[in-house]
Amino acid sequence: MSTPPDSPSHDPALAVVEDATCLACGCLCDDIALEVSGGRIVEARHACDRGRAWFLADRGPGDWPAATIDGRPAPREEALDRAAELLGRARAPIVLGLTQTTVEAQAAAVALADRLGAVIDPSHAADAAPRLSAIARVGRVSATLGEVRDRADLVVFWGVDPVTTHPRHWERYSVEPRGRFVPEGRAGRTILAAASEYTPTAARADRHLLVPADAQFEVLTALRALINKIELDPERVAAATGVAWDDLLEWAQRLTRARFGAFFFDANLGRARGGAATVEAALMLVRDQNASTRLVAMTLGGPGNPAGAESVLTWQAGYPVGVDYSAGYPRSLAGETAADRLARGEADVALIVADDPITALPQAARDHLLRIPTVLLAPDATATGRRSSVALATATSGIHTAGTVVRTDGVMLPLRPALTTEWPTDRELLRAIDERVRALQVGDRAPAPRPAEVPTS
């Protein structure tokens, strides 16, 4: 049931994969037509420049080995044995990465963390934590992206610049589509952009507002007071927010007069002064407006599958990031991240799945990660220059690997791999390690079977 290619090629060797999902940014566009020739993706139709670069990147096979132990090439089976030995004997193992792989591999990683009694935390946890804790405090009023496309006559981009970071958001979801209740498309929507500087998104918006990055809590709270018709002192508000009173009034009016508004924000809101409280201010502004009209709060989302990591951890452990299995059941790290554990030296072996958190970590955490044994599963894990005790090369999700990913609005999408590879998937490797750790544990414990049935006499 794929859509037919819109420009069939004359190259007989060319294969076309329709309806492929792009993982280059948080849009997760699933309408990409990939042309494959000579074992390479040679064209990614409908993709933006960013997506095209992702699909057309050189995916090898490089001349790097399938596996390394302490930097030296090793047979894959030996590397798996060594990984299981390191992890199975660890006292405080930690599982990191996880945002650049499939739901299926994420589930296998959580299963392994459960078996190991490990701490598991996706690499975007520090960015996600303020949003997640704000939601857990006040809730959220949100929707899938198709609702915005179908209904929104007002779209607010708050502290985000989708024109730069999410190039097709505008055309696919939020601004240009013609929806059932917005038949005029772009002409039927008012676009507002708020940011600390004049962005390309602001340039294409109907109105923009310069909001000092560290005054976002104050501006959002003032807007919430205005839509709730609470009297404010204009001079004090202008002084506290750094935003002109008339601008605030105009924005509040636009929020209240819209039939259906969509408020897009992202991790930078939680990173601003105030942290979770600033996200809460946005969520409560949106929530309160629903007493009279519709307004939904949405995130732009990150590249790959961070939403999948949150989803899988939530259904398996009950907490979307930061889970500690060391007690034999899931506990929430709540208030700290794996980076904090690392920084304090509270991990003795690390398993890193799919994306390398090393550059995102604070220095102290990074230092500790370099001191302890690590097991790395990633497409380029065995490329030279990596420092891992065990490294295993994997296929790339969405290029070589099928499976599913989760869009930022919770919609789960299938992947349609265009290429084949000799490398196994990270899911297969995780399961192989899991099986080996299980065997080690059984060997250690050798529990006696407990008879339940009475044998037939």
């Binding site: 699933d30 589930a107 992206l145 198709g146 496309r149 629903n290 907490y319 034999g328 059941y329 339940a452």
Partner: protein, 559 residues
């Protein structure tokens, strides 16, 4: 061929008219005729002398998987932090519980109660893939879900245009595409009206703006489509005005509107209130009149949605109900609208025995159980977790079997409850056989699962063995043994092994001529590609298709 014998127990199998001491034989996961040879040996025998043997429990209406359930988990870390947890064992993954347990904990806790089948009652088609991934991680039970259709744009357009054939084709296609089990209608048209900012519907003949259809039309046309397709389970209905005083009038009208069609009315307790909207002065139980209607109309079945006192989480596709509960309780509110299909509302709620409204809701639920004369027509449910967790089922059994326990509880509730509900006058006490009907035999029959809910030859080898106890709550909270497909899975409350269980679904035939129209509409309207909408084979770990227009399943996939 592995043969298991459950020897010498009191077998209570109402579907086959059995209540007496006998042996039960299971081979290759299914109940078989006892061998004619008196010297026949089983590979294993469970000594059930002195015990009560029933089919595994079947839950016809609960919320255990999918985007809404998972959003509720993320919303409520405080609900499980510091609470009981399921610890990792050699047999079982760990998990957390609270009012919305994690997937592995859900399977373990259901099985621990002697339930071996559970049906999630509300999955948006766009969330079907997600729901299947969660169900794959929900072991020890067979599971299925109902597909939300009552606010679907394509459905409403077909209803307006009177295109019954295309509607029927769409329903069949959508069930197959989602690997769903049945059709769910939640507040037909009301969610769409609310999503677009026009407020909820109040009456069956209100018009949904932008679509020109009424809740009545949507409901009746979907009921007709389900009947014409011969689906095993009739249309499963959550009517308008859930939880509002005075909603019984709408409920009665809805029952009448379904005349001539099969239908299952969900969590009927929440739809049985007298009085006026926004006025609690005349808030009372209308269970007598509604139960009377059910008693006289065999086309309808109900489940109760019993409320129990304590902390829980309300979750519903009925978006406006979420907003209402947020406004009433002031507690945190999660709302997530799903394009073209439905809404979703989640709000924490605490049912307090000192609160007149909550206490009356408790009494109305019990009235329903006691006033519906034929136990085959009413199923035990809490609308988990809405009225309370499924873990409260043993308490409900105790309340139904023991009038003294009921009266003791009623005595500590606000006095007004006795004036607004006739519960105190109801002397009926359920027998064990009646409990077996409302917890397994009846729900299985309502679902059209011919291989579930009984212990005749060919039935699934799902068996629960209870040790009789005057304390019925204790008896039903801790079965001695639970057997799933002929395998001992729970022994004295301990998980012995955690088979993955199967996902039951239907795939009705339909006229392929409807597809181009569906595809055109979808491609114009959705934020994803049409090709990426249907669930794929590899999204289900153990699919088990159930035949349409039949009582037994067509095929079976072994784990």
């Amino acid at each position: 061929m592995s043969v298991l014998k459950v020897a010498g127990g009191r077998v209570i199998d109402p579907a086959n008219g059995v209540d007496g001491v006998r042996d039960l034989w299971i081979a290759d996961g299914r109940v078989i005729e006892p061998p004619a040879d008196p010297g026949a040996k089983a590979d294993r025998t469970i000594d059930a002398r002195g015990d009560v043997v029933m089919p595994g429990g079947v839950d016809v209406h609960c919320h255990i998987a999918g985007p809404k359930v998972n959003a509720a988990r993320a919303l409520r870390p405080e609900d499980r932090r510091g609470a009981e947890a399921v610890r990792r064992s050699a047999a079982m993954r760990s998990g957390t519980v609270g009012s919305v347990p994690t997937t592995f904990a859900t399977g373990a806790k259901y099985a621990g109660l002697g339930y071996t089948t559970a049906v999630d009652a509300a999955v948006p088609p766009l969330g079907a893939r997600h729901a299947h991934h969660e169900l794959n991680d929900t072991p020890m039970i067979d599971k299925a879900f109902l597909v939300l259709m009552g606010n679907n744009h394509f459905v409403m357009d077909r209803v307006r245009l009177g295109e019954r054939d295309r509607l029927r084709g769409f329903v069949a296609w959508l069930l197959g595409a989602t690997r769903g089990f049945g059709v769910k209608v939640v507040n037909p048209g009301g969610i769409e009206r609310w999503k677009e900012g026009h407020g909820n519907v109040a009456a069956l003949d209100d018009i949904v703006e932008g679509f020109g259809v009424s809740p009545r039309q949507i409901l009746v046309e979907l009921a007709r489509a389900v009947d014409e397709l011969g689906l095993p389970h009739p249309v499963h209905v959550h009517g308008p005005n859930l939880g509002l005083p005075g909603n019984a009038a709408t409920t009665l009208e809805l029952m009448r509107a379904l005349d001539g069609h099969r239908a299952h009315l969900a969590h009927i307790q929440f739809h049985s209130y007298g009085g006026e909207p926004g006025d609690l002065k005349r808030f009372d139980s209308q269970a007598p009149a509604l139960a009377d209607y059910i008693n006289n109309h065999p086309n309808l079945t109900v489940d109760v949605g019993q409320v129990l006192f304590g902390e829980t989480t309300s979750m519903t596709a009925d978006g406006p109900v979420g907003q209402y509960l947020h406004a009433v309780t002031g507690r945190k509110w999660l709302s997530h609208d799903v394009e073209l299909e439905t809404g979703c509302g989640v709000v924490p709620i605490t049912y307090e025995d000192t609160n007149f409204v909550h206490a009356l809701q408790w009494a109305i639920g019990l009235e329903w159980f006691l006033r519906v004369e034929d136990p085959w027509r009413i199923a035990l449910s809490t609308d988990h977790p809405n009225g309370g967790s499924f873990l409260a089922y043993p308490e409900i059994v105790a309340l139904l079997m023991d009038r003294g326990h009921r009266d003791d509880t009623l005595k500590r509730l606000p006095r007004r409850v006795r004036a607004r509900s006739g519960l105190a006058d109801l002397e009926r006490e359920y027998s064990l056989a009646e409990i077996a009907i409302i917890t397994r035999a009846g729900p299985a029959r309502m679902l059209g699962l011919g291989h579930k809910g009984h212990l005749g030859p060919g039935a699934d080898g799902d068996v629960t063995i209870y040790t009789p106890d005057v304390d019925k709550r204790r008896m039903f909270a801790l079965p001695r043994y639970v057997i799933k497909a002929g395998e001992l899975i729970v022994d004295g409350g301990e998980v012995r092994t955690a088979p993955e269980g199967r996902t039951l679904h239907v795939a009705p035939d339909f006229d392929r001529g409807v597809l181009p129209g569906i595809r055109d509409w979808f491609s114009r309207s959705s934020s994803i590609q049409f090709a990426n909408y249907p669930v794929r084979d590899d999204d289900l770990a153990h699919p088990a298709p159930v035949s349409v227009r039949g009582t037994a399943e067509a095929s079976r996939t072994e784990p």
